[in-house]
Amino acid sequence: MNLLEVIRTAVFALRGNWMRSALTSLGVIIGIAAVIVMVSVGQGTQAEIDKLVSGLGSNRLDISGGGGFGGGARGAAGSRYTLSDGDASAIRNEIPEVQYVAASMRGGTQVVYAENNWSTQWQGVQPDWFAINEWTIDNGAGFDPHDYSSAAKSVILGETVRRELFGDEDAIGQTVRLGRVPFTVVGTLQSKGQGGFGQDQDDLVVVPLETARRRLSGATALPAGAVQQITLGVARAEDLDYVQGEVEALLRQRHRIQAGEDDDFNVRNIAQVVATRTQTTRLMSLLLGAVAGISLIVGGIGIMNIMLVSVTERIREIGLRLAVGASPEDIRRQFLAEALLISLIGGLIGIALGIVGALLVGRFGSLPVALNAKVVALAAGFSIATGLFFGYYPARKASMLDPIEALRQQ
């Protein structure tokens, strides 16, 4: 019997008991739809976190000064200038796995251009800061080496600041005031939009570190070369933990911190924090997937159950088909085709419902949903596998019937 004939016979058999066939596929429909919705939600959440991770950078360390005691109260991180340019240079020189190092300072200021003004954050940076934070300059030349060394009054504007001050006007070459100090705009940053925590990443201005130290920090008695933060990037994410250890050891040595004493700096590995969250999400996805999978198994058992009933009911038909020349193989194929057809039709309807369901959850639920072709293909594969797995035993049972016994059944 060729495949087309097998399918035709299976369709004929299923139509004979269409209500039962429909109810049986309902199990698969629900199972597949659940798989699609659950996996979509799981992947959506995962994608959200991935976005967060890539926004933060998975191969960077943030070192801030501070900690330590001042008058009995433990200072907040960054509250004391315990880090310096020298620390940054030492890291660069002594830890080869480190690709980028940038010391930086930051603070708040008001930016004024003509009659427009805007309150924002300034960042005083070293050259690598752009690479570590994945900023690109989309207009203007940016800082040249001389700007860094001479504490030039050059500024690069974040997109939000540029928009608020200049609107449609060209900002490059214009003079803005940061507080009372006039600066020349030498570049604008390409917009990054909202960050993973919902903040506006484009609301900042960037100046060379030395400029910030002299013109903006407002601190009068800074230790020489003091910075608030050192950020570093490694080339390979798997080196991160090792580099963190090296950095801590190096800084303890440079800061002459004795064994048992507290660090006067903090090294933050954001990737670690995110990894924990990723793991939680993954567990949730797995749990959702398992629930969906269980409903699919229940659907499959429904198929097996009905197919077994069907074999028993049609034992005489099987006997007759065997008598007129059907081989056991033909019988097995016929019943397998019926089970497959139930699960495949159920699967298709389930996919349609699942897609609709996922879209509804995405629109009206508060959960992020990532629906992609892979999920749908996976679901289709599952439905076929369900039919094959749960249809095999009944089909085998049918094919092993003794034709004489089968014909004798009333």
Binding site: M1, L320, R321, A326, P328
Partner: protein
């Protein structure tokens, strides 16, 4: 008798033991010798439990013997696996049953055409041949009737058309008139005679001596042994 091509059914010392080797073994056939020529119309009689159904199952390739040999149209049946037995039934044997065994959800044409699907006959040819076969048994205008819409005699005609559809050399009929009134039974028997005249070998299993009287030859099965009719009674 037209034994042109020799014996189409050739059984020698055919034996069948159920549950062989166990304590409760049942001997259904005790070394049956049987030779039926091509184009013969024969009857095998016997009371129920005599082993005639077992013999028919063996002759029809539904079962394999535990001893002896059976050649069906030249094929040694004892050596066949289930797959090959199915092929034998498909090519060599047409079954007609007492209870017709038509599939209730199919109309007469679909019932007749069904075995051809297993023989790999093309769909269009199937429909044509099924129509021809129904016409040959006098049911040209009943093709789209379901079995439940046909009389017993008509149903048995459909079953005979189905048995012949793959053009097997042998037709095995198990009590083909058992469920029919005597007039309809006569009609069915004359249909079998017509088959014989067309060159088919027809074997009827029956307990009815009246049916056997129509046949060229008859045997009686008794307790697993086969004797020519008249020899034991």
């Amino acid at each position: 008798m037209s034994a042109i091509a020799g014996a189409v059914i050739q059984a020698h010392a055919l034996g069948k033991v159920y549950a062989a080797g166990s304590e409760a073994e049942v001997v259904a056939l005790r070394g049956v010798d049987l030779s039926i020529a091509r184009g013969e119309f024969v009857a095998i009689m016997g009371p129920s439990g005599s082993g005639k159904s077992t013999l028919m199952n063996l002759l029809g390739g539904l079962d394999t013997p535990t001893s002896g040999s059976y050649h069906c149209d030249g094929v040694d049946v004892a050596s066949l696996d289930p797959q090959a037995l199915a092929r034998l039934r498909l090519d060599k044997i047409g079954f007609v049953f007492q209870g017709f065994n038509l599939l209730p959800r199919m109309d007469a044409l679909e019932n007749v055409a069904m075995p051809m699907a297993y023989a790999g006959v093309h769909r269009h040819e199937r429909q044509q041949r099924a129509r021809d076969a129904l016409a040959a048994v006098g049911l040209a205008d009943r093709g789209h009737h379901r079995p439940s819409e046909l009389s017993g005699g008509q149903q048995q005609r459909v079953a005979i058309a189905r048995a012949l559809i793959n053009r097997p050399p042998i037709v095995l009929a198990d009590e083909p008139t058992g469920a029919l009134d005597s007039k309809t039974g006569e009609e069915i028997l004359s249909l079998f005679k017509q088959l014989r005249d067309d060159g088919h070998t027809v074997v009827i299993i029956t307990h009815d001596a009246g049916v056997a009287a129509h046949c060229d030859r008859a045997w009686v099965m008794h307790d697993g042994d086969l004797h020519p009719a008249g020899a034991t009674e």
